[in-house]
Symmetry: C2
Amino acid sequence: MSTNGKKKEGPSELDIFRDFLKRHGMRYTPERETIIKEIFATHEHFDVDSLYISMRQKGLRVSKASIYRLIPLLIQANLIEEVFFEKGQMHYEHTYGHEHHCHLRCQQCSKIEEFSDHRMAQIEEELTKRFNYKILRHRLEVIGLCSDCQKKAQAES
Amino acid sequence: MSTNGKKKEGPSELDIFRDFLKRHGMRYTPERETIIKEIFATHEHFDVDSLYISMRQKGLRVSKASIYRLIPLLIQANLIEEVFFEKGQMHYEHTYGHEHHCHLRCQQCSKIEEFSDHRMAQIEEELTKRFNYKILRHRLEVIGLCSDCQKKAQAES
DNA sequence: GTATCTGCAAACCCTTTGCAATAAG
DNA sequence: CTTATTGCAAAGGGTTTGCAGATAC
């Protein structure tokens, strides 16, 4: 089990996405560029609403609809992925350039710790053999109470 | 890694829930009983809408609101848990009486295989120490292509 | 030029909630 | 009797979509 966050070498997210759009007969627009830059500049995890608000505050004006329309494309291009659904909203994180990691989330305060674990690769390998699946990815979310929230809970009881 | 589905011994879901309600000053109603019986009789995984429809077809008439209001209680009582969110709906499965398991899902056809793995317990234990969290539960979803869908994909290319 | 994309606002759809009537304890 | 629960219908709130104008290519 190790901490995470190494940045891989390679073409930029924009390069990848530009190529993706070209291959699919879609267009590279200033709006798309703005959104992608914002996602990859400032957010590790994000949800549409907070992304939108943070962009507005910076004077970057794109509509929410454009963000919503962009997200499936970014997922298809393997640049981001859904990580969890909470309080009615889907949360995403960017994948490209980051090693895959798992999430440890505090049920109370929603704080998130990231970790990765070599055993996940073993598990995937065994599943491949056992069920004859071609494994694409996994999502591991561990839910618990962080030390702060444990203390608070004790204080209340 | 082992296959799953063993039924543990012990009090029934209704007993557990009755006790839970009493402890919280809540009431045991025919509606609640009907819904719980239906959940535990026929569904391994379920979502509110299909549960509601299936109950209606059997002539069991409870309102959707009552189902929605019951679910958080069942989660709190540790009888069911959220397993994944798909196509705008949360999906649940019952936990009580079943060993915890993980899901291997085919991205193409949504078929689900269940498995459990002792390494998850190890991982939880290590996370407890490392981050000082009190671990409550985890959700592991592995996504891939089942053998049938692999064949289909090959045939098409 | 033409097909795609944008912003807007309305529509959608799952879920939650206010309310008056009902029923559990 | 008191307070929780029910069903209904309306409200919420995140996401999707129809449309007309703008724009990438």
